[in-house]
């Protein structure tokens, strides 16, 4: 079974119950898992391969998908599926053949309602994933502002 960050702290049995809800999907190299702005109905655990998370950026008057983050096996992508307004805020693409486990929001919510302990643990893990992302980008933003200030004052 995949050691997923979303299932940290759960017993094998509880983690197994969550994994039973998952649908396995294999993405070929270059395939898109979801696109910026799409309705987010599922959260994904990466079982094998990689996922590139990108945002569009204008480079020499051309729109290019620029890498924001790369996620590896065991990591979670697509947490927009659990947070209103349920729209993906990035595009996810597989740079190589990648296997993901899709957990639909409806199935998860139903399971959490019946198993509040599991729901609590997964919510805490999700908060941790979101918190790490926030810290990462907050710091990256401060570094860019610092560079801008240095350039302006030079």
């Amino acid at each position: 079974m995949v050691k997923a960050d979303l299932l940290n702290g759960l017993s094998e049995e509880d983690a197994g119950q969550v994994m039973k809800l998952a649908k396995r999907t294999i993405l070929t190299s270059g395939a898109e898992l979801f696109h910026l702005g799409d309705v987010a109905g599922s959260i994904y655990l990466i079982a094998r391969g990689r996922l590139r998370l990108t945002l569009p950026m204008q480079v020499r008057n051309r729109e290019e998908d620029m890498l924001v983050e790369e996620r590896a096996p065991g990591q979670t992508v697509g947490w927009s599926a659990l947070i209103p307004p349920y729209r993906f805020t990035l595009t996810a693409t597989a740079p190589l053949e990648t296997e993901v486990l899709a957990l639909s929001r409806e199935a998860l919510m139903e399971h959490f309602a019946a198993n509040p302990g599991t729901g609590y643990a997964v919510s805490m893990n999700l908060a941790s994933v979101i918190g790490e992302r926030l810290q990462l980008f907050q710091t990256m933003w401060v570094r860019e502002v610092q560079r801008m200030v240095e350039a302006r004052c030079a």
Binding site: M57, M66, L67, L136, T139, R143, Q146, A151
Partner: protein, 110 residues
């Protein structure tokens, strides 16, 4: 004898000075082309207009000036993002002011 030696020394000194001067005059100029290109690029970024002061170009990174192929530029940006993430992860492990603003080897900002 002393006069002869003094004359020989002066001749050698004069020859050395002449060689240095010749070498300096015939040495190819390395920094001149780079200096010549920069003002052109700056002009291209901001077309000249009457009665308008040209904008300061210092804030634009070097990589933005250089007309590198698009693929290379995209790779530079991606490399920059990866290096920034690595630097930030290092900061988050040990949060200090020095690590927060640590430099990377990214060609996009250096």
């Amino acid at each position: 004898m002393e006069m002869l030696l003094m004359g020989a020394c002066l001749s050698m000194f004069g020859l050395a000075v002449t060689c240095l001067a010749f070498g300096a005059a015939t040495r190819p100029e390395r920094s001149a082309p780079a200096m010549a290109v920069k003002p052109e690029l700056a002009k291209a970024a901001a077309p000249a207009r009457f009665f308008v002061q040209p904008p300061v170009q210092a804030a634009i990174p070097i990589a933005a000036h250089a007309r590198v192929p698009l693929e290379v530029l995209l790779l530079q940006i991606e490399n920059h993002v990866r290096l920034e993430q690595a630097a930030v992860e290092s900061f988050l492990q040990t949060p200090t002011s020095a690590l927060l603003h640590s430099r990377t080897i990214s060609t996009l900002v250096n």
